[in-house]
């Protein structure tokens, strides 16, 4: 099924087309949700809510840009809204507390590097990982993040810096990255 046919079917609320679209994008989108969520169940709930929004708002997609990008933005916004509802994204812990958390964590799988990286991101406190996900992976600017999360722009920057530092430590300790810190250009980007 081509993308055009699939979109046309979704516009007509055809279950087959919807299932096709879901099967095509759900694995990647669940990966996105999983980075924001506490666990798999929460991630699936977020994705379910996100896809319901996608199918109900599919008529708003005008074909400008990639469909995946549009879907991804809706999924990310849904994840943020869920976190906002649960008031989790403002949670923050100091670096010391955070490192004690990840040091005790032995549950990181060691099969695929991508999975390892994601699991390491998930070890971050909710506030940190939300900002890190939005800035470093989803490509939002600090201004946009501040607007989405209802926080100060400076808070977003500082959260990101701390998040990145913490993640770097985790990756080093899990031997996922080998380079010493001084060799990595770890500067907070400005957008």
């Amino acid at each position: 099924m081509t993308e055009e046919l699939m979109l046309q079917g979704c516009l007509e609320n055809l279950a087959t087309a919807q299932e096709f679209l879901y099967n095509r994008f759900s694995p990647r989108m669940l990966g996105v949700c999983y980075r924001f969520a506490r666990n798999r169940e929460d991630a699936e709930d977020m994705m379910q809510e996100g896809f319901i929004k996608i199918f109900s708002q599919i008529h708003q997609f005008k074909g400008q840009g990639a469909l995946e990008g549009w879907i991804r933005r809706i999924i990310v916004h849904t994840c943020i809204n869920v976190l906002k509802k649960n008031k989790k994204f403002t949670d923050s812990v100091d670096i010391f507390h955070a490192s004690s958390m990840y040091l005790n964590e032995n549950n990181i799988p060691s099969i695929l590097q991508a999975k390892q990286v994601v699991e390491c991101i998930r070890l971050l406190p909710v506030g940190y990982k939300t900002v890190l996900n939005l800035y470093a992976i989803e490509g939002y600017s600090h201004k946009e993040i501040a607007s989405i999360l209802d926080i100060e722009e400076s808070t977003s920057r500082s959260q990101y810096t701390r998040a990145k530092s913490m993640l770097e430590d985790i990756l080093l300790k899990k031997k996922i990255i080998q380079q010493p810190r001084e060799n990595m250009r770890m500067v907070s980007g400005t957008r």
Partner: protein, 544 residues
């Protein structure tokens, strides 16, 4: 964005997860709320249809006797007091109706040529005679209407029944052949059915045509009479506008023409009356007198037939369990890696619990002897069991299947979300199926009295699997996989039941234990493990 961030983004973007099925089900149910639980809706609909059909059948099965008895009463009424019947269905004046009734009343033997001529005199002397003739036609039409109504109510009266009826009439052919078409309209004989009238006419007319010239004359006059009556019927406006006809020149002219027609009717009546004889009337009366007996015989036949057939509608909550047999095919170790895998294999054991199921249906019983019944009907079953499992991260699982044609083994790979039940995040999977079947069996009354009876029954049920879900253990015994293509579409089951029957509130109730065993495996031959479902339940049946 620096290298670290780019690397992070790349890694994160590569990460994919396979969502569990419930996510799509949740989305689907949200987007298509009307299609939620389609199988349940269809099943409920089916059950309601079964109950509805059952009720109607029970209702109709009880009706013919009463309907026939009603028609018998009706025919008797017509014989004794035809006026009552005519008054119910005509709209004209009472006086004229009485005359029609007199004309149509053969039991009193008053239908002599004198009587007919007296009617004739009335017809000739009063303008309303037009109406009377019309009423004559109406009464015959109405009587046909009555018969039609009786026929439409008497849905269980078959052609054979009519055949029997006709044969009884044919037995009297010597006499009945003399009955002309006009008599056929009014004699109580025809109360039986309008169909019998038509058959009767069809049988008799050719014979009549072949008979004497007098009869031919009679038929000709009959034809003229009918035509005239039809014409009069078409001029119904004359009847309804009688109070105003004098002021209306057109109506007056119509009356004149009608009077002319009336005269021709009188002439026809003269001819007809000459042909009519008391003997013929008596033969009609004899036939008419036999009619109630015939009807009684028919009702007896029906009663006997209905007594032989009985319908029971039942439902039963069941506890479904399962028995397994056969051996799973294990992967033969060929290298060090597969030896390690083989060592990691678990015993192929499905941890399961019984689950609640349901069955419903309609059973028709046909009495072979007093105690033995042949049974058949429609049966719907929902049965299954629960598997104790646990959620796992999506993982590949292999199922080794066997080609039944050449006996060769081949692997099939699946993505599994469920473990063998030994993990932490416990989850219950449900293997179930919906089956529609046609049970064929026997039922025997073991004992009892008028109030309570003990019976036992057994049947075989060829069944079609309407919907099913089945999780099977992977060949290493570690994960459950779901593959609908492994499931069998047709199956065969046996059903054994014992029950007591008692009457309460005009209904017969059957209550007793019921066991159902599925003969063939739920799965096709490619899957070497055999699964046989067993249902235990308490069947509750109801019948009239």
């Amino acid at each position: 964005m620096n290298d670290f961030e780019e690397s992070l983004k790349d890694h994160a973007d590569q990460f994919k997860m396979i969502p569990s099925k419930k996510v799509w089900h949740g989305i689907y149910n949200d987007l298509h709320p009307g299609r939620r639980w389609p199988s349940v809706t269809i099943s409920l609909l089916l059950i309601f249809i079964l109950i509805g059909v059952g009720y109607l059948n029970t209702h109709n099965a009880a009706q013919p006797v009463s309907a026939i008895s009603k028609s018998t009463i009706a025919s008797n009424n017509l014989l004794v007091n035809p006026q009552a019947k005519v008054e119910d269905h005509t709209t004209g004046t009472g006086l004229l109706k009485e005359k029609v009734v007199e004309k149509n009343n053969p039991t009193k033997n008053e239908l002599s040529s004198n009587n007919v001529s007296s009617v004739k005199e009335d017809l000739g002397s009063k303008p309303q005679n037009i109406v009377s003739e019309q009423l004559l036609a109406d009464s015959s039409n109405n009587s046909n209407d009555i018969h039609d109504k009786q026929n439409s109510n008497n849905t269980n009266i078959t052609d054979n029944t009519f055949g029997a009826n006709n044969s009884s009439i044919t037995n009297n052919a010597g006499k009945a052949a003399k009955v002309n078409n006009r008599d056929a309209i009014s004699t109580p004989d025809n109360v039986i059915t309008s169909t019998s009238i038509y058959d009767f006419k069809a049988n008799l007319l050719p014979k009549t045509l072949a008979t004497t010239g007098a009869d031919q004359k009679q038929i000709q006059s009959e034809h003229i009479l009918n035509t005239n009556v039809e014409k009069l019927t078409n001029g119904e406006i004359l009847v309804t506008n009688i109070p105003n006809f004098q002021s209306n020149a057109k109506i007056a002219s119509q009356i004149e023409s009608a009077q002319k027609v009336n005269k021709s009717i009188e002439e026809n009546l003269d001819n007809t009356d000459k042909i009519l004889s008391v003997e013929r009337i008596n033969s009609n009366v004899a036939v008419a007198k036999k009619a109630p007996d015939v009807i009684k015989k028919i009702s007896k036949l029906h009663k006997k037939r209905n007594e032989k057939v009985s319908w029971v509608y039942y439902a039963a909550p069941v506890m479904s369990s399962v028995s397994f047999s056969g051996q799973a095919i294990k992967e033969a170790p060929t290298n060090n890696f597969s030896i390690a895998l083989a060592a990691n294999q678990k015993e192929n054991k499905v941890l399961h619990n019984p689950a609640l199921g349901f069955e419903a249906g309609a059973q028709m019983g046909y009495s072979i002897t007093k105690k033995l019944q042949f049974t058949t009907g429609i049966h719907l079953t929902y049965s299954g069991y629960k598997i104790i499992s646990n959620e796992v991260h999506p993982t590949f699982a292999t199922l080794i299947l066997r080609d039944p044609k050449n006996g060769g083994d081949f692997p099939m790979s699946y993505i599994s979300h469920y473990g063998d039940g030994t993990g932490q995040t416990a989850v219950s999977l449900r293997n179930y199926n919906w089956q529609a079947s046609i049970p064929i069996g026997l039922q025997y009354q073991l004992g009892g009295n008028d109030k309570i009876k003990f019976s036992a029954g057994a049947n075989v049920e060829p069944s079609y699997v309407l919907k099913s879900e089945a999780y099977v253990l992977s060949s290493d015994g570690r994960n459950y996989v779901n593959d609908p293509s492994l499931l069998r579409k047709w199956n065969m089951s046996s059903n054994f039941n014992a029950f007591i029957t008692f009457k309460s509130h005009n209904f017969k109730w059957n209550i007793g234990p019921n066991v159902r065993y599925q003969w063939f495996s739920t799965y096709q031959k490619t899957y070497t493990i055999k699964e046989h479902l067993i249902d235990y339940g308490i069947r509750i049946g109801i019948s009239k």
